[in-house]
Symmetry: C2
Subunit: 465 residues, 2 copies
């Protein structure tokens, strides 16, 4: 007798005919008139539950087993047999069932077996991983995260844990969360009457990071290939299905590389990730295709199979101006592309992922490398059909003089003295990009709300659990 | 001609006699009287640099190559040949050297080749990964992190990204960082005159997490095997070599498991990690053994080879009371073990890692499972020779009635309604532990200060870079 995860049984890790034990939670119970009960047991290890066939000759059949309901925890021991029923390869001929934990009042069990809206399930985020959809999201999330680490590790990238707490808003990427231990009821003031952050924990005003990029560049210029993968924060008051106050981001950075190397990395990386998920989690992906978005698998396969198009921003503007489609936002050179433009390009014009490159310098950050035309910078966005932008990146400005001119004011330069240093000591062309982990997970699973792609979502007015 | 990382050349990924290109930073230059220069080039991919032999017949020899200094970035192309010199397997007979980035004023290059104290290097944290020690720490950190993910992934654990922002201080694990977007100069007040956190971003007072454990338990009771691996925060004003305000923690949690399963997991996990580091990064570990701590490799090997002892807390107290050593802190049943006690047990009494189990309930957290003696809880600490505690964990209280009695006051119970729910719906025995990632990295590398185990350390009055 040996204990197995259910996925191991389905993967032939135990011989049919052997006695096995599984431990998990009841998904459903059905009783036949012949005095046999069928229990579906789930342990989270794969999409499918396993069926245990329980004869009424079991000692606790009447007293306990007929009272089992969804959510009860059990340990089932029995013979593993090939299943005569369709849709499952193996089942267990139960020889004993130990009930470990009951469900208080099955009638009010918050996720008792029936359809629930995703909105409702967010109010029971501690229980929603027990549902089909959120179990599947969790497994795909793990497979995807592991594929990310594996991709980089195999290619000699170093995982750099850039700081979460930072004293600078260097990127100007939006509103920041302040982090403090000051007594808010009794704030220390300096001689000018302003709040004296010198008294605060870090001796200066401190925030949650919006990106690890600037920090990771310093490691890139020592280790050649690096990446971050960690939480990032935006205090934007955006109550949309695409915004989280706390989300995870992946940011690779490569030395001796230009924008084309960066685009190649983004394409290779995405294809690797999609292949890995299709390879490792076809059970969950089949569920998403059946229940959430019929294109979930096919559009991933499409991204894997098709070469990504490269398109200059200037060319993209021409295409949008010449196309028959009417846009809400007028198209002219210099605009930031809107979602409607991006989707037209990826879905209608190219019909595959497309990488838009070389944007007007006015709409992009100071650290992006100025092109020779003096009008554009070496920035890129990867757009995918069905979602729009999933990656944004750039070649970084490695020339100190040009960087200084783009940084502008003195305070900025002083705060980023160390970032400027990187351009003074063995500077090299380098490039990188950022990928929002939850947005990618939404794209893969077809789940539409980003709050359903992270275990405990943080959004305006909501930090529950 | 093809471009390689230096580690690939040392790992025989290119044929001797072929023309190769490497891209990296100069570590040193030496000129012979015969008109040949020797350049050591490093790209961060492994501990060793590769030597390029440059004849004075190269076009830019006089004008550029003789001016190269530590830190300059170069692209070197030449024939890969077996090295006649000792200590390196291959070198490059240079055919061209392109200088990509110079060093501004080599005299003042902050990490010009000479010995620097680790304390000094913390002031140039953006450049320290270019040094031998911090390059090695970075590579070992990556290898260790990847081994952690791989260990869990191979065993069907799910990586759960528990929230960083939390509205509760449930663990009471120390002082917290408050996270807010309120205008501190003009704080909103409610009718009682208190600060009105309903106006804050999340609608309530919010903090940085000190542990993902409580949250991850909810996933454990759906997915069976889970872990967290992410940043955690302590606003403790401790200026020691063992404390960071921001550090990374690993927290596995397993269902249908008791304290012994937990101890087995901790032992198997640590052994796996140490084997992986010895296997993947023997180059860096050799450096640490030569330069930082002569026992670095041998004590890791010791942990891998020796079974971990299990020792009851009560028995440990008896041993400490009966032993000849004098302790600063008196030993009696009920005390929390001090570092001196832990080290005695691991180093003198056992001479190997030891797992102390079943501590007095008074000194442990409310969620630890009460033993039948009603005096102790199913807690454990893993102590290792040379460092003391590296893992702390417990079986969790899965019985609602007992948990409620341990939680005490009503506010606590109300705030943790969802945590109590887990005991109402299919509760199972479960257990888990926490491992401080940087402390483990210190132990492995022999680096003594935890500020040297993370890229950009955050400590009281210091959030630079």
């Amino acid at each position: 007798m040996s204990t197995h995860l259910i996925t191991e049984l389905f993967q032939n890790k135990a011989t049919p005919g052997s006695i096995v034990t599984v431990k998990g939670w009841v998904r459903s119970r059905r009783d036949s008139k012949a005095g046999i009960s069928f229990l579906h047991i789930h342990d989270g290890s794969c999409f499918d539950s396993i069926q245990a066939v329980l004869p009424n000759t079991l000692a606790n059949y009447e007293e306990e087993l007929l009272k089992l309901s969804a959510g009860c925890s059990v340990i089932v021991t029995g013979e593993l047999v090939e299943s005569p029923g369709k849709g499952q390869s193996f089942e267990i001929q139960g020889q004993s069932v130990e009930v470990i934990g009951w469900v208080d009042d099955p009638e009010t069990y918050p996720i008792a077996k029936k359809r629930h809206t995703f909105e409702y399930l967010r109010t029971v985020a501690h229980l929603r991983p027990r549902t089909n959809a959120f179990g599947a999201v969790t497994r795909v999330r793990t497979a995807l995260a592991n594929a990310i680490h594996r991709y980089f590790h195999e290619r000699h990238f170093h995982w750099i844990n850039t700081p979460i707490l930072t004293a600078s808003d260097c990127e100007g990427a939006g509103e920041l969360f302040r982090v403090s231990t000051l007594d808010m009821v009794n704030l220390p003031k300096n001689e000018t009457g302003a709040i004296d952050f010198a008294e605060d924990f870090f001796g200066q005003e401190t925030f949650l990071t919006v990106s690890g990029q600037l920090n990771v560049e310093s490691y890139c210029l020592a280790m050649s290939r690096v990446y971050t993968f960690g939480p990032t924060f935006r205090a934007e008051n955006s109550n949309t299905s695409r915004h989280l106050a706390e989300f995870w981001m992946v940011e690779p950075e490569i030395a001796f590389a230009n924008l084309h190397d960066n685009a190649d990395l983004a394409e290779d990386f995405l294809k690797y990730l999609f292949k890995a998920v299709l390879n490792e989690r076809i059970d969950d992906m089949t569920f998403f295709t059946d229940r959430i978005n019929p294109d979930a698998i096919s559009r991933m396969q499409h991204v894997v199979d098709k070469p990504f198009e490269r398109l200059d921003y200037t060319k993209a503007i021409e295409i949008l101006q010449a196309c028959p489609q009417k846009f809400e936002y007028p198209v002219e050179w210099g605009i930031d592309l809107q979602s409607e433009h991006e989707r037209y390009l990826a879905e209608k014009h190219v019909g595959a992922p497309v990488i838009i490159m070389n944007y007007p310098k006015e709409i992009k950050a100071f650290y992006m490398r100025l092109n020779d035309d003096n009008k554009t910078v070496a920035a890129m966005d990867v757009l995918a059909p069905g979602i729009g932008e999933i990656i944004g990146g750039s070649q970084r400005e490695e020339r100190l003089g040009v960087l200084d001119a783009r940084m502008g004011d003195m305070d900025h330069k002083e705060a980023l003295w160390w970032y400027r240093d990187l351009r003074r000591y063995g500077t090299v062309p380098h490039a990188g990009f950022g990928l929002g982990f939850e947005r990618l997970l939404n794209y893969i699973t077809g789940m539409e709300n980003i709050r359903d792609a992270i275990p405990f979502p943080r959004t305006p007015k909501s930090a529950h659990f």
